[in-house]
């Protein structure tokens, strides 16, 4: 296989930074939450310290996206819009996914946009359950003495539902990003920001061709290896 040198930028620096900070906060929240979730680990929560760490991490979990939203409002809003934009290629993806992910059969897989359907699903879950985490968490944190007991009871419940959904799906996310045999450059995309042109063509065809089209109509960009995105 000839290694094409040309690379395309997939994620801007700020996006990658947000991803990593949010991931770190999530992992800490996951672990410090888990000790309350597993009765056998409960003793670790003794004297409140895991709960204090949970709150500190929660601050990062809430503030990081807000900072991003303020500094990169356009990119942030476009990303949210992406999560809500669904088309026929998504139906195609859903149909082709089992053969693709189990049998590595690329045949039926329609060309995908900047995010493929699976990534978009995860991103959608992150937005929805991120909001659930934040709202329910803040209620349990700050309204503990004033909110009616019944509300607080449902808050833990909803917090746990969000925990179960995202906690299970985050493993799928990591697995597909760094372990699955087909996803060769997903990790590179989020760590270094770039993917090879080849990977962009085969995994995110729609997006890649849009980029190329823009390139052709746009006033001459620097015709370097790096194709700027967003």
């Amino acid at each position: 296989m000839s290694q094409s040198k040309a690379v395309v930028q997939k994620y801007a620096r700020a996006t990658r930074l947000l991803h990593h900070i949010h991931t770190a906060a999530f992992i800490i929240l996951f672990i410090t939450g888990l000790v309350l979730f597993i009765p056998q680990l409960g003793f670790l929560a003794q004297d409140s310290w895991t709960r204090i760490v949970h709150r500190l991490a929660a601050v990062v979990f809430i503030v990081a996206p807000i900072v991003y939203l303020v500094m990169k409002p356009k990119a942030a809003l476009r990303a949210v819009a992406d999560a809500c934009t669904w088309g026929t290629e998504d139906v195609g993806w859903l149909k082709a996914a089992p053969r693709y992910y189990f049998l590595c059969d690329e045949e039926g897989m329609p060309a995908q946009g900047h995010m493929n359907t699976g990534q978009k699903l995860w991103w959608f879950l992150v937005i929805v359950f991120g909001a659930v985490f934040i709202v329910t968490g803040l209620v349990m944190w700050f309204l503990k003495t004033v909110a009616p007991a019944g509300l607080l009871q449902w808050m833990v419940f909803a917090h746990d539902v969000a925990f179960i959904v995202t906690g299970a799906m985050v493993f799928v996310h990591v697995y597909l990003g760094v372990i699955h045999p087909m996803m060769t450059e997903a990790w590179q995309a989020i760590s270094k920001g770039t993917v090879s042109e080849e990977y962009a063509k085969s995994h995110h065809g729609l997006w890649y061709h849009e980029q190329v089209k823009e390139e052709n109509t746009a006033p001459p960009p620097e015709p370097k290896e790096v194709v700027e995105v967003h």
């Binding site: 296989m1 000790v35 309350l36 979730f37 009765p39 409960g42 003793f43 929560a45 003794q46 004297d47 409140s48 310290w49 895991t50 709960r51 204090i52 949970h54 709150r55 992910y101 189990f102 049998l103 590595c104 059969d105 944190w141 503990k144 003495t145 007991a149 019944g150 607080l152 009871q153 449902w154 833990v156 419940f157 746990d160 539902v161 925990f163 179960i164 959904v165 906690g167 299970a168 799906m169 493993f171 799928v172 697995y175 372990i179 699955h180 045999p181 087909m182 060769t184």
Partner: protein, 289 residues
């Protein structure tokens, strides 16, 4: 050992609050009344009831209820503290096991050292009894409630003594003993009250929450005494602990299994595609590229 209980006979209670005072004294729950020059800072709340609420230092208090009682205004007293439920919601939701059911006495015992201060017990208690103290913002708290005089070092049951509140009660409105015996006593008392014309007389605590370990003889309906009429084990506690948590384990476990399964199949498939002929042979970790 037979399960123990306290029987509180509201008809005998004079609201002297000796129990409230000795509870504090025995359990070392001193409370300072905020003082200002020439007096105290407390405001008159229009009631003899004091303090206003249970707290981490007030595990027991006598309530003063001014209510209509058989067509005349009356002053009904009631004892408020942990009810020591058999089906205790706090025990169910406590993530650390700090709250647990003491099988010998049947009470809700507490190991304060391992309390995480989460306050779930307070959220789920049908009687609104547990109280937390600490830093609300940091979340560094400790819970406290009546433990029926079983505090380590101050354990009265261990030395075959009745709880402090019972010990001090001058009218025998409070008695301590085997639960079965007290249930029988309470039944008789309520029957006698009814015979005397107190048709609403109620025996409270026999069946509530699987059986309370604080039993009440009331000569009116429970609401007149500030008690919840039909307290229930919160369905949210069941939904959370018995449904959503096991479901969480199942979902988490199946996800990981599924991923492992996918990896085995997908790697095989990828190798077959890229290295025809060598499929599955050699077993080298020949992943993508």
């Amino acid at each position: 050992m037979a399960e123990k209980a306290i029987l509180y006979d509201a008809t005998r209670c004079t609201a002297c609050r000796g129990c409230q005072a000795l509870c504090k004294e025995w359990n070392e729950n001193d409370e300072v009344i905020p003082a200002v020059q020439g007096g105290v800072k407390e405001r008159n709340r229009g009631s003899y009831e004091n303090p206003k609420d249970l707290s981490t230092r007030t595990w027991l208090k006598i309530g003063f209820n001014e209510v209509e009682h058989y067509d005349k205004l009356d002053w009904l007293f009631s004892r408020r503290a942990c009810m020591h439920c058999t089906d205790a919601a706090c025990v169910k939701v406590c993530p650390t096991g700090a709250l647990y059911r003491d099988e010998a006495y049947g009470i809700v015992a507490y190991n304060k050292d391992i309390c995480s201060g989460c306050g779930y017990c307070a959220d789920f208690c049908p009687f609104d009894v547990p109280r937390l103290d600490g830093n609300r913002i940091l979340g560094k708290n400790k819970m406290d409630k009546c433990v029926l005089c079983t505090q380590p070092g101050l354990n009265r049951l261990e030395i075959k003594q009745e709880p402090a509140c019972v010990k001090t009660c001058p009218t025998k409105a409070l008695v301590f003993g085997d639960r079965d015996t007290l249930v029988a006593t309470a039944r008789q008392k309520v029957a006698a009250l009814k015979a005397k014309g107190f048709t609403n007389a109620t025996f409270y605590g026999e069946k509530e929450l699987g059986g309370l370990h604080v039993l009440y003889v009331l000569n009116d309906t429970p609401d007149k005494y500030g008690l919840p009429v039909d307290p229930k084990f919160p369905s949210t506690a069941t939904a959370w602990q018995d449904i959503i948590q096991p479901l969480g384990w199942t979902v988490g476990g199946l996800t990981l299994l599924g991923l492992a399964f996918n990896f085995i199949i997908a790697r095989e498939a990828k190798m077959t595609k890229e290295l025809p002929g060598k499929a599955g042979k050699g077993g080298k970790k020949h992943v993508a590229e």
